[in-house]
């Protein structure tokens, strides 16, 4: 999930291959299943290892970023480990830790990101299964604004470069409580309502995020269309680091017609108290993506995004196209080119590629 290329707080500085780089490269290699392990254990790539009531899994992504202007990098974008536990109805813990933004090597002019890598706590919560259809979640979790944010693992998403609307202008994380309704038959809409009373627990460092939010509350309604297709409605109210209150409304969808899959998301935020006079009173963004399966393992894809930020009056327009190779569902290789076609760049023009695996 590359989303730092145009990060306004990216730090810079020369560095070469280091011990952390080598250690994590070795860790990735060690975590990949060997043929003998697969044969002995019944391991299936992407499903993790189950030991009693606990499942140990994770994902990794190595990214090549070659923007036309700015620093070119080969980096470990994400190395994430997560543990899922199902002990009984009341004890279902989940924890995810991640090493992110670790440059293996880079060239070009310095920016604002050293690429030294950061350890972050992505999720830490427990699910209380009140009934078959109702779950109470307590802890740190991902906010259900659109669908990309809650399924952001690199092998599971369409592109290397995320459309900005899928992670900017709203709080991606929540430390608090949520109530989740899911229809056991999968026919009726699902609903998640959530609330964060104050600040996020274990906030991500400013170098890898665009803003910090507090007092977050919202809901997400999901209307299932098929196993993987759906329409979603999002609402989120929050306060950013400059004490600007915002109310976001969002619409997202995914729809498959034979080999063609369309997906998209649009958000509109009203900026309320705290916005200074020169800033826009609202911001909006939308992306529309299409992917076409050439066969079981090859596909081509593209997206267009229009994005307005509270920091700029003009709207950014980006266009991306690429090709993906999925030798197995839990692994992908993507190569894509992004072109800024108007407005201030949200994502830089250039070539991007990634190799990612869910294990």
């Amino acid at each position: 999930m590359s989303k730092r290329e145009a990060g306004p707080r990216r730090r810079a500085g020369p560095r070469a291959y280091g011990l952390p780089t080598l250690l994590f490269a070795a860790a990735i290699s060690a975590c990949l299943p060997t043929r003998s392990a697969k044969a002995d254990s019944g391991y299936e790539l992407g499903h993790g290892y189950t030991v009693g009531p606990f499942n140990f899994a994770g994902y990794g992504e190595i990214t090549l970023a070659a923007p036309d202007e700015g620093r070119k990098t080969v980096s470990l974008e994400d190395f994430s480990l997560f543990v899922t536990g199902h002990v009984n109805r009341w004890l279902n813990p989940f924890v995810e830790g991640e090493l992110t933004h670790l440059d293996f090597t880079h060239s070009g002019p310095s920016g604002s990101d050293h690429g030294d890598g950061s350890f972050v706590l992505e999720r830490l919560y427990n699910d209380f299964e009140l009934t078959d259809s109702l779950t109470f979640r307590l802890g740190k979790m991902l906010t259900p604004v659109g669908s990309w944010n809650v399924i952001h693992g690199a092998p599971l998403v369409l592109t290397t470069v995320r459309p900005a609307v899928t992670y900017r202008n709203f709080s991606e994380y929540l430390t608090g409580a949520s109530l989740i309704y899911t229809d056991p038959d999968g026919d009726n809409p699902g609903l998640e309502v959530y609330w964060q009373p104050d600040r996020e627990f274990s906030e991500r460092p400013n170098s890898i995020t665009f803003d910090q939010y507090k007092m977050v509350e919202g809901l997400h309604l999901t209307i299932p269309l098929s196993l993987l297709d759906q329409i979603g409605f999002s609402y989120q109210r929050s306060q950013d680091s400059r004490n600007i209150n915002q109310s976001l409304f969002g619409l997202d969808f995914k729809y498959t017609i034979d080999k063609l899959t369309l997906q998209g998301e649009a958000t509109y935020s009203f900026l309320g108290d705290g916005a200074s006079g020169h800033q826009p009173r609202a911001e909006a963004a939308a992306y529309l993506a299409g992917s076409y399966a050439l066969d079981d393992i090859w596909s081509v894809y593209s997206w267009y995004e229009g994005f307005s930020s509270r920091d700029y009056a003009a709207v950014s327009h980006d266009l991306l196209a690429g090709v993906a190779f999925h030798p197995v569902p839990a692994m992908s290789i993507k190569v894509e080119y992004l072109q800024n076609i108007g407005g201030p760049p949200v994502n830089p023009t250039g070539l991007f590629a990634s190799w990612s695996i869910l294990f």
Binding site: G42, T84, N88, N92, E129, P184, L227, A330
Partner: protein, 142 residues
Amino acid sequence: MIRLISVLAILFVCAPMGPAWAEGLLIIANPSVTFAPPLTLREIEAIYLLRITNWPDGSHIVPVNREASSEIRARFTEEALKQDNASLAAYWNEMHFQGKMPPVVQESEPAMLAFVRRVPGAIGYISASTAADGVKVLSHVP
């Protein structure tokens, strides 16, 4: 003797040549599972799509699957879950990322039987022609 050989030859030629699971699938569970059979297709689907995670007595459901390349898994996926393998693999990966444990994989029918027999709350499937020794049969998928 010639007549006997002829009869045996005819029986051999006329015998069903399809795989064992052509006779259907048995949905099996650990004997500790208190659910009263039969389990409906909707319930099987809800369990394997991770929408129901607890048996009625509150114990945890442990769904078990065969390896991705097995023909019996393809049959189960198509007949019981009404899905295709690729969509289901993508779905389970997404669910796993969201904190739901995907089905445990066992790579042979004896391994499936042994796992379901041993693990409380486990549910799996075997060919209807296989003796369901030591497990509880919850339903038969023709």
